[in-house]
Amino acid sequence: MSPASVLDVVLAAAVLAVALVAVLLPSRRGAVSAFLVLGVVLAVLWARLDAPDIALAEAALGSGVAGALLMDTLTADPARPGRRAGRTAVVVGLLAGAVALAALTVVVRAVPDEPSLLPAAVAEEIHGAGADHAVTAVLLNFRSLDTLLEAAVLVFAAAGAGALVRTPVRAPDPVPAPVTALARVLLPALVLLGTWLLLAGTSRPGGAFQAGAMFAGALVVAFVAGARFAASQGTAARAWTVAGVLAFVALAAGTAMLGQGWLVLDPRWAGAAVLTVETVLAVSIGVGLAQVFVANSEARRVPS
């Protein structure tokens, strides 16, 4: 076996092992901690699969923002005694799982080892698409409707989580000094990193979603450190949350009214349009994810 395939096998085993640990640990804390580790291992797997964009996103979202959300759930409630599923259910579940896995393993052996139609199509059309980096071109031009709707999913998830908060936001508690100190260092670093990912995204891996996750991280840190602006669920915060979707729809409607067709970007200004939409989207995603975090935090802090 070559060193490369040893690495592949070890990596595959690691992913499976961490996934098993994450679902098997009976305590919440253990499960969440193992899930954070899964995010790290997955980021490595994505890197190994030639997908640096996804490695970035996994590091930022999968183990970053989602990790912070899950961890915050743990600090909110003391661990609860876990009820267990009945023995019959476990046996049936395991059997069904084994059968499903065997069937799927047979199925995926039939996957043809040849590329799909799309990489060639992307390579052919990427000039004038507004971004030299293929993944960004797909997200912001070829399949821009998906990206718009995905931003909308975030907007409405934030609205839904926000609707669960039925109490006004409480004044922040006193913050421990180490947290404030850490936040002072971390905040500018996160914003800088996010901006870099945003600007880099048109020509190399990176883009609105990774940058947005960094901005969300910055806002979460600010919120945790007691900054009032980050705790707000007011009109301005909600306006920023929806700004990305509205900017995207405005672009779509604008191109339609100009007679080019919905979301059709003219190669002459496609680059500018892509960067503008990405910038608004990144800020919007950042605020939106942070709003989900704040809503979660407030859903717990109901005054007694």
Binding site: A57, L70, V135
Partner: protein, 94 residues
């Protein structure tokens, strides 16, 4: 077993592990975690499909990126609901 088959099988295994755990777990946070594990399994399958051919498939990668963001949003909503479910009775009244 080729690398493609190995990694595709890995994706399926992670998906099945996540789904079975999701259906069997009673603790709500653990169910959310298991759902995220299952989703990671599907993402593995998609990204492995993207490695066929000489260049990585940007479209499949874009799909995964979209999927990850959606899953993060859904996790946020799910956790907010978990908190609401576990809030003491008297806090339920709006």
């Amino acid at each position: 077993m080729t690398r493609l088959e190995l990694l595709l099988a890995l994706g399926c295994a992670v998906l099945v592990v996540g789904l079975v755990a999701h259906l069997l777990a009673r603790d709500l946070v653990r169910r959310v975690v298991a759902l995220n594990v299952a989703s990671a399994g599907v993402m593995i399958v998609l990204l492995v499909l993207a490695t066929r051919g000489t260049e990585p498939d940007p479209v499949a990668q874009a799909l995964v990126l979209t999927g990850i963001v959606i899953m993060a949003a859904i996790t946020g909503l799910a956790l907010a609901l978990v908190r609401r479910v576990e809030a003491p009775e008297d806090e339920e009244a709006p």
